[in-house]
Amino acid sequence: MTDTLISSPAAARRRAARWQPDARWQNVVVTRILFAALLLSLWQAYSGGKGAVIPEVALSKPSEIASSLGHLIANGGIFGALGSTLAALALALVISIPFAAALALLTMTRAGEWILGPIVTILYAVPKVGLITVFILMAGFSTKTHVLLVATTVMFVYYYSFQQGLRDLDQRVVRSLRLFGASAPQIGYLYVLRAIVPNVVVATRVAIPMAFGFEVFAELRVPTASGLGVMLNQYTQNLQPGPAMAVLVFIIVVACVIDALLGYWAARYAKSIGVGVTR
């Protein structure tokens, strides 16, 4: 209270606005909830039974999906599958990032760019989903196939970002550091690594949702022991629409959460370096 009295009226208004929820914002939330409820009610009403618009064998009723999801969450099975999917994704990132960095460094040299540039362009145009067949022949029906597919896909995202970052380096800074006697590793540590961080952030923002999508695709095509795609595949093959839809909903929620978290992280980073980009 004292604080409000001694501060300027504008500051007090700002503080008050921060703590009082905006009525319009509340209206939007309520309307969205009502809209979702209406859609779910229609789905529930027109699903299953004789002459139903939505066949229950493909799309289960929302109530059954919710019940299956609750069951999967309660027994923890879905989190084990999520763990397997994320572990394969993380391994693919760990493999692809150093490879992309090395390739970007190679193509920074005049000869490297002259020779490797067209090869990388051709390889980039390969429809990546088709590569799964090559990886099946190479690694069989195993998690290695998933990792290879995801690593190959995200490698290009990081490669182009690293390349852009290296091209944008301020050569005057590099020359100055050399004049002060810095060695190549020192220049790399003191300047290059820090300068390309924004490119890495942007690449990660794009690469992780993409990697998640490709990992699920790989799990659907090459069902191994565990994973969200494997689980979805199993339930659809056993004609269990309730759990299948529950896994599908879970995958969509995970994708949205990953995207939202990365968006928040990228926006925070942009703000921290003074770009001030907000989502």
């Binding site: 064998v57 090869i119 390969v126 989903v129 088709g130 067949t133 090559v134 659907l220 995958i251 994708a255």
Partner: protein
């Protein structure tokens, strides 16, 4: 080669030479370094891939597969384009409530991996043309909607107001302001979405386990452990994908020239 020789070749000639040398190197590494040291189960020699491509071309299986995949991709793309534009116009031009309700749906669909729809659609509709097109359209429409909406939201309202004051109706506003303004965003959306449509079509064919389309050829060759077949189909897929990327860029440049009268495609806001 001395600098004078480069000048004789010119920029275009030097670029062609670069691509020839680079491709030659790729093929040499593939033929003499990769093939002798890897299993023939998954790596085929370029000569075997070339022979397979010739055989697939002469018996018509390649053209049939390319036709199937392209038709799925293009029909799905056309539907996605239509749905995306309608959604963008509804969100951008109608009452804000419509935008607040529909925008999270578009963003949610954009964020989700579309391949998860494949198993459900397979049970619902089978593995025919329809479900493949649905997955492609589901991938395309959020991209179109998001880019078009970006364009709609940056229209200069002063220009719209001035046009309305001079007696212009919605037809004039749409034709004179809205369409030229969002065309740049739409071109970008098409450049992003069209190559994706081909990838999604191939992916769905693979997931459905079909025998038609490029994905179908890949499935069949994998089942037969035919490495030359797999690599030949991948080469064909890469050529189509590259042609598609080049085509979208040419169309983009032409459209930008038409609307903006320059090659850079600068927007006249």
């Amino acid at each position: 080669m001395n600098p004078r020789s480069w000048q004789v070749l010119g920029h275009g000639g030097a670029e062609v030479l670069r691509w020839v040398v680079s491709l030659g190197l790729l093929l040499a590494v593939w033929q003499w370094l990769l093939v002798p040291h890897t299993s023939s189960v998954f790596v085929a020699a370029p000569s075997a891939v070339w022979r397979e491509l010739g055989s697939m071309t002469s018996d018509g299986s390649l053209w049939s597969a390319v036709g199937t995949t392209l038709s799925e991709a293009l029909v799905g793309f056309a539907i996605g384009l239509g749905v995306g534009l309608v959604l963008a116009l509804a969100i951008g031009l109608m009452t804000p409530l419509v935008g607040k309700l529909l925008e999270p749906v578009v963003t949610g669909v954009y964020t989700s991996p579309k391949f998860v729809l494949a198993p459900i659609l397979f049970i619902w509709f089978g593995d025919g043309f329809g479900p493949r097109v649905i997955v492609v359209a589901a991938d395309v429409f959020p991209v179109i909607a998001i880019y078009a909406l970006g364009g709609i939201r940056t229209v200069n309202t002063d220009v719209v107001l001035a046009l309305r004051l001079y007696g212009g109706g919605w037809r004039h506003v749409t034709g004179k302001v809205l369409v030229p303004h969002i065309s740049g965003d739409l071109i970008t959306a098409v450049t992003v979405a069209l190559p994706r449509a081909i990838t999604i079509a191939i992916g769905v064919e693979i997931l459905f386990g079909t025998t038609t389309g490029i994905g179908g050829l890949l499935n069949t060759d994998t089942d037969l452990f035919s490495a030359p077949g797999v690599w030949a189909t991948l080469v064909a897929g890469t050529v189509i994908s590259a042609l598609c990327i080049a085509l979208t860029q040419v169309i983009g440049a032409a459209t930008r020239r038409h609307f903006f009268g320059d090659q850079a495609g600068g927007r006249n806001r």
